[in-house]
Each structure stands twice: as structure tokens, then as C-alpha cells.
Amino acid sequence: MKCIFCEELAKGKELLYADDDVAAVINPKPAVPGHILVFPKKHFQIIEQVPDKIVGKLFNAANELSKVVFETLHAQGTNIILQNGGAAGQIVPHVCLHVIPRFENDGLSFQWKPKQLGEEEMSTIELKIKQCTEKIIFEKEREKPIEIKEEKEEIKAEEGKGDYLLEHIERLP
């Protein structure tokens, strides 16, 4: 699949920030000037496919960049948004956190209309989600570099998991 993020990385596009796993660029078509995109260097379509350790780094990098936005652009706020899946507005098939500087009267609005749900419906949803969260297992973090054999196994597992997950999510354009 063609991915503009992977293509630009391969071409050596100038990055605003980079470490071993995470990169950030300035969005050339921003919601507000200074809008930053933070993404994993490796190709993952949705957050569920990204290893835990890199997910942590993504959130940390977004927070650090949001701090830079506050300090250097004197923003009055920031929004950090991850559109996970086409139905959530994702348009590029590569996981990406948006860091958006906010100012009074900047013309943006990220607000939703609250829905009123019955107690019974809320209880059903609560129970369903709880049954799933009870089974959450975090991936073990490795302090030392991964041995090659181990890495191959890990990638295989991730790919398998990804296919399974993608069945549950609407395909991206």
C-alpha cells in the first residue's frame, strides 16, 4: 500500500523531531499554523498495531511538542487528536497524532453534542467493556536491544494481530 508518510521518510524529508521510533513534521496544510504531526517511523495503520513501548513514546513526544507549541507560539491551548480508523476521520493509512495549537477565536471547534442514554443501556455497555478490559495484557518491555531471532517472531505476531484487528475496522481509502 502506498503511504505518504513512509514515502516522505524514505525520501529523507526534513523532520521537526526524531528519535529511534518516533518522528514529527510540521503539517503543510494545518488547521492552525504550527499544527504538528507525530507518528511512528515504522508503518502501522491503527494504534492497536503499534507496540506498547512505541505508543508510550508517541504520547510523550506529542506532550513535549505541545509544550514547545505553548512556549514558542504562546498558544492558549493545544488539542492532541488521534483519528483511529476511517470512521474517526483518519485519511492517511499511518498512525498519526495531531498536535494543534489553539488560540481564542481561531475559528476551530472540536465539540460534540452529548447523547442521552438510559441507565440500562449504560449498564450494558459498562459490563461489555469491563469484560474486555479485564483481559488487557501489556507487552513486556525490553531494556536491551532485541536479538534478531526474537525480533522476527515479534513482527510475525504483530502482523497476525494486525490482520485480525483490521477485520474489525473499516478499511481506509
Binding site: P33, G56, E170
Partner: protein, 174 residues
């Protein structure tokens, strides 16, 4: 809750000024509804809990299954959350998003953070919203793509890069 009179407000302001940072934090915590939810003093529909954070169902959901992920500690805004806690919360968000996709047959999840009133933050407790999404659900949250003057963008880029240098340095030293 009744509104405070002008005199009471003045007295409160004076009290706040004289507090040490520790006292002020304790006071904020005491006033924060989400800290009371974390402590179990206010009831909530809790779907996840560990040492660092909890996740509850939003009582005013954008969609059914709308979750709030809250650190147990009181941090008014995201920049105040320590690195290790934020990284952990990020991982929890990933796994919760997976649960929403699996259990509610959501077609996507909007993960949303507001820092500061200008960004739409209302609560005085940092939180991450997870909103299960379906196509055409009308929730919104689209991110516009706009055209700006090249000079304006170049100036902003220059300022951001100046601010980034210290982070890069810090990471290389590690």
C-alpha cells in the same frame, strides 16, 4: 451548590494566595470532582483501573461507550503529567481503544485531548477522551486542512525549531 458572595470570594482569594504549593495542590484536589471519582467518593461507571489511572464511562457521551481516562493523581493539564505516567496512560488508551472496537463493533475511535480552555478543556483534571465512532455518526471532530501564507508558515516553523533543540539534546544525552 450556592454561589459565593463577593466577600466570601475575596476571603477565598486571600486564602489561596497564602497557601504553599503543596497546600494549594491539596485544596485543588479536594475541589476536583474527578479526584472524588478516583477516590470513589462520587459514583461512576468504572471500566478499568490500575495503579496509575482509571477509565470511566462519560455521563454525557458523544457516542455510546465514550470513555474518559484519568490519572489518579491530580494534574490540571497534560504538560504537568510525569513522563512515565503519560507513557503508561498512552498504552492503556491503546488497549481500551481495542476493547471499544471489539466489544461495541466500533469502526474507529477518536482519541482526544484538550489542554486549556481555548482548546475546549472544561475539567480541572487532565483526561483523555476515547469516542467510539461509526461512519456518518455526526460526532464531528474533523480536522480542517487550511492554506496559509508561506511567509507565515515559515516564521512559525523557525520558532518551533528553536524551541525543539533542547528536547533533541536531552534525548541524545540519555
Amino acid at each position: 451548590m450556592r454561589e459565593l458572595s463577593e466577600e466570601e470570594l475575596k476571603a477565598l482569594e486571600e486564602k489561596l494566595k497564602q497557601m504553599s504549593p503543596e497546600e494549594l495542590k491539596a485544596f485543588q484536589k479536594q475541589q476536583c470532582i474527578f479526584c472524588q471519582i478516583v477516590a470513589g467518593k462520587v459514583s461512576s461507571r468504572k471500566v478499568y483501573e490500575d495503579n496509575v489511572c482509571i477509565a470511566v464511562l462519560d455521563i454525557n457521551p458523544a457516542n455510546p461507550g465514550h470513555l474518559l481516562v484519568l490519572p489518579k493523581e491530580h494534574y490540571p493539564i497534560m504538560p504537568l503529567v510525569p513522563k512515565e505516567e503519560l507513557e503508561h496512560i498512552g498504552k492503556v488508551v491503546k488497549h481500551l481503544s481495542h476493547c471499544l472496537l471489539k466489544t461495541l463493533k466500533a469502526e474507529g475511535v477518536s482519541i482526544f485531548i484538550a489542554n486549556g480552555a481555548a482548546a475546549g478543556q472544561r475539567a480541572q483534571h487532565f483526561m483523555i477522551h476515547l469516542i467510539p465512532r461509526k461512519r456518518g455518526d455526526g460526532v464531528g471532530l474533523e480536522i480542517p486542512m487550511k492554506e496559509f501564507e508561506k511567509e507565515q508558515l515559515a516564521e512559525i516553523e523557525r520558532r518551533l525549531k528553536e524551541g525543539i533543540n533542547p528536547i533533541e539534546k536531552e534525548n541524545k544525552e540519555k
